[in-house]
């Protein structure tokens, strides 16, 4: 399973004040071609995923469930667009399934990361801002959740809810937030002592507005970066769950279940393995690179030498 513990960014915002954040970041980012390339790649995948319906109907003329059992294990061929990437064990078009798989995998990744992010921010902000008993209680909850092997939680919860995409988003989204929460809490603890927060209180701004307008605005850029990596981790976790038979279920394709299925069928359809494998690999890699690249760009300590 993913070891999310080690992904917390190693710098804090306290020194970030002086930089013109986004302008400088963009300036730095433009020079980081690897990050730009990764971002473009990701964007391409997202666009392809969004266009899945259009492409499937107009270019490939197949849905992701259309079967052709008589001609299964069709080898990749240029003759028929639907079989550019070959066909699977019951004759479904691999490329169409990849497109819809992109939709599912990315939606699960981003969806769950969004929940992680939201929960992490809400809990972390409240912990750091209100401190006291709420902080103590949530610290306890977070430590306790961290102490249960994630695998076991996933297994039981997956058995509980059944492997639908929505359930999967909810499960993965509700399991990874403690890391985000602790990170946001740390940032909030230091930010809430800053004078601009005091100034807001003097003005009479209420707690919610202070948390969301003043503190969150300062935490958000970094949390987004953590989340970029989180998305990658979740896509990997989905594939691991598919491997265990608990991921997204057929006929709905996800890159994870396509890869798992293909890997078990290596000798009959070796071409089936490479596309979903590459899709996962490239996506996760790009998410990491974009996350790290953004962090570099946003980190005021990394001066141009």
């Amino acid at each position: 399973m993913a070891t999310a513990e080690a992904t917390a960014p190693a710098f804090t915002l306290t020194q970030a004040t002086n930089a013109s954040l986004w302008a400088n970041a963009w300036y730095r980012l433009k020079k980081d071609r690897l990050t730009i390339a990764a971002a473009v790649m990701l964007l391409t995948f997202v666009v392809l995923a969004l266009l899945a319906d259009v492409l499937a109907q107009n270019l490939f003329h197949k849905s992701y469930t259309d079967q052709d059992l008589l001609n299964n294990y069709e080898k990749p061929t240029l003759a028929d667009p639907a079989y550019w990437f070959g066909g699977d064990e019951i004759g479904r078009s691999q490329i169409v399934r990849l497109l819809y798989g992109a939709r599912v995998s990315l939606a699960v990744g981003f969806g769950a990361a969004f929940i992680n992010l939201t929960l992490g921010i809400l809990v972390g902000l409240s912990m750091g801002y209100f401190r006291g008993w709420f902080d103590d209680l949530m610290q306890f909850v977070v430590t306790t959740l961290n102490a249960i092997p994630g695998l076991y939680l996933l297994l039981i919860v997956a058995v509980f809810f059944g492997p639908s995409p929505v359930a999967l988003v909810l499960i993965l989204g509700s399991l990874n937030w403690p890391g985000n929460a602790l990170y946001v809490r740390g940032q909030t603890l230091s930010l809430r002592e800053r004078d601009f927060v005091t100034a807001a209180r003097v003005i009479g701004v209420n707690s919610a507005t202070i948390m969301f307008r003043h503190i969150l605005r300062n935490v958000l850029p970094l949390v987004f970066i953590v989340s970029a990596i989180d998305v990658g981790q979740i896509i990997l976790t989905e594939s691991a769950l598919s491997f265990l038979g608990l991921g997204i279920q057929q006929p709905l394709p996800s890159w994870g279940n396509m890869l798992t299925h293909a890997a078990q069928d290596l000798s009959r359809g070796p071409w089936l393995v490479w596309a979903p494998g590459a899709a996962i690999f490239v996506t996760v890699l790009c998410l990491y690179l974009v996350g790290d690249g953004l962090r570099d760009a946003l980190d005021p300590r990394l001066k141009e030498s």
Binding site: M1, A6, A10, A147, Y152, V282, L302
Partner: protein, 318 residues
């Protein structure tokens, strides 16, 4: 120090309590139960047999009773007996845990030994081609789903070239003490398991090193005539120590509970497989014990981390 450790251990008790309560509730309220699985498919099982089985497994008690009697046994360090295996859970854990630890420690070492230099190298040449290659390489291993990496490793190194065994811990018939054979078996799973660590530590070290490079003391040290590389590694390492220790604290617990996927692919008889099988079979004595032990190890690893913090950074010491 002794009092500090004792106090932290006591603070861990509510956590362990919470962990076991959650696990128990999840186990009990999720669908499926061990007896119906056992009985399903076995022909001509009588109602009396089913009742006897429920009694044998203690499932005829009310839920609070079951939980309390489990807690009572835990107080005597008795984890009970596995439903599925009819043997003491303690024995089962004692046979799986050392295997998992062995794998975890080796892979951790690999991750540190490869990840740290990678991070420093990338930072030293920030923005250059080398940096970009290292950035991609550091993360690449982790971006491959681990089961797929395992399959590739087996196909290429075990089947194609015959360099390493496909799986297991020892060649059948070899002595337990045959270190060379043991190492050959460790290579595949340890590398697969270390990929996440390599990605994380190289990224961490890269950030830390970039930070160091921007600081004046590097120039000061160079002025003293120290070799730049020495200065960099020593200082970067020292500064990166705290975040790495932080990361290790959690990581160790994760590794201890085992990496199911890798254990599965490489036929490694560790904790992950044990917990997994127990979870799908609803063999709760094993699940509860494993959760309890990994929770306990997490508490311990946090304490160890805090002590290490004190050693690494005198400011933290109280």
């Amino acid at each position: 120090m002794g009092r500090f450790i004792l106090r932290r251990l006591l603070q861990g008790i509510p956590t362990l309590f919470g962990v076991t309560l959650i696990s128990f509730a999840l186990w009990r309220f999720s669908p499926g139960d061990p007896v119906s699985r056992l009985v399903f498919g076995a022909q001509n099982v009588t109602a009396e047999e089913i009742a006897a089985l429920r009694h044998f497994y203690g499932l005829d008690q009310s839920l609070p009773e079951q939980y309390l009697s489990w807690l009572g046994r835990i107080a005597h360090l008795d984890f009970g007996q596995s439903f599925l295996y009819h043997r003491p859970v303690t024995d089962m854990i004692m046979s799986a845990l050392p295997n998992t630890l062995q794998l975890a420690l080796v892979s951790l070492t690999i991750a540190l030994v490869i990840g740290i230099p990678l991070g420093v190298i990338a930072a030293r040449s920030r923005g250059s081609f080398i940096d970009q290659v290292v950035r991609v390489f550091g993360v690449a291993g982790h971006a491959i789903p681990s089961f797929w990496f395992g399959y590739l490793f087996i196909l290429v190194f075990a089947v194609q070239f015959g360099l390493f065994p496909v799986g297991g811990m020892l060649t059948i018939g070899k002595s337990e003490l045959d270190v060379a054979d043991r190492l050959r078996h460790l290579v595949g799973p340890a590398i697969a398991l270390s990929l996440a660590g390599i990605a994380n530590y190289s990224r961490l070290m890269r950030t830390e090193t970039l930070d160091i490079l921007g600081q004046d003391f590097i120039r000061a040290a160079q002025a003293k005539g120290l070799r730049p590389r020495t200065v960099l590694y020593v200082h970067a390492l020292r500064n990166a120590l705290l975040p790495i220790i932080t990361a290790l604290g959690g990581l160790l617990a994760v590794l201890v509970s085992g990496s199911l996927v890798i254990e599965q692919v490489f036929a490694w008889p560790g904790m992950g497989r044990m917990i997994y099988e127990a979870a799908v079979s609803k063999d709760y004595p094993i699940v509860m014990a494993a959760v309890f032990i990994s929770g306990f190890l997490l508490v311990i690893s946090y304490i160890a981390r805090d002590i290490a913090y004190g050693v690494a950074d005198p400011r933290v010491r109280r």
